[in-house]
Amino acid sequence: KKIAIVIHGGAGVIKRENMTPEKDKAYREKLDEALNAGYSILENGGTSEEAVISAIMILENSPLFNAGKGAVLTHNEECELDASIMFGKNLNAGAVAGVKTVKNPILAAQAVMHNSKHVMLSGKGADTFAEEQNLELVEANYFITERRHKSLLKAKELEQSQGYIERGNDEGNNNFKYG
């Protein structure tokens, strides 16, 4: 029986010249950790759902990526997190949008898939649902890192001079999107 796992940690203007060897190494090691965690589950007879959740949680818990801890900040200096999951056997799916207190949003999406009759929950209601599902909650500032805060301040400076700007969501992405 064939097993496989593939992951990503975001796409964008990632230039070699902007990456220090240490940073490059840190990204590769974290991706490797997530891949091996997921693959190990598959190799030992675990499900693809368990493998996906395991890999994504490792990436969510790493401040290197724009998900979970280390997520980018909104204009109001908060993190609003989105996640989704889909099961290919029966097309069952779950998603959350704009959650602010669930430590691992992918677990909230999974809970929506299994424990609600809905596909997507959003905002405060999604956070309330996650709490009722006994998922781990954190203070909103758990997600905020200095690096992302600096990025927001830079975007706001440009906003002052050029009008409203949404900054591209990916590592090293210097393309600015105009809303």
Binding site: A4, H8, T47, A51, S84, V119
Partner: protein
């Protein structure tokens, strides 16, 4: 954005995606990541897909299901379908980003139209592959 797609010993495909969205976003903006069919899709008969990129474009194209539909209705391989969706359709309307996916036979795709994408895969009897740049 982060994402993962896996195929287990029972032949089940699952895809998942998680994100913080875009810096400085307002008005409760939501991208493609939580939208089933846009940022995430899985079907055991075709493929599983997880996307990353400028969400508004991925929503308009329904990128993740678009790949699956090409496989289902046009008998394309996952490689052909992903290349068409990202390099032709997404690029044509000015969208940037990429996707990772796998099909029911464990074939892997990592397609993107940006200079880089943090990505990797591991499959039966093969060593782990991790890449960043194009």
């Amino acid at each position: 954005t982060v994402g993962a797609v896996a195929l287990d010993q029972s032949g089940n495909i699952v895809a998942g995606t998680s994100t913080g969205g875009m810096t400085n976003k307002k008005y409760g903006r939501v991208g493609d990541s939580p939208i089933i069919g846009a940022g995430t899709y899985a079907n055991n008969n075709t493929c599983g897909i997880s996307c990353t990129g400028h969400g508004e474009y991925f929503i308009r194209l329904g990128v993740a299901k678009d790949v699956s539909d090409q496989m289902k209705y046009q008998n394309k391989s996952i490689e052909e379908a992903s290349e068409h969706t990202i390099q032709d359709q997404l690029t044509e309307i000015g969208g940037t980003g990429g996707l990772v996916g796998l099909d029911k036979d464990g074939n892997i795709v990592m397609e993107f139209n940006t200079p880089g994408m943090f990505r990797g895969y591991k499959k039966t009897k093969e060593t782990t592959v991790v890449k960043i740049y194009k």
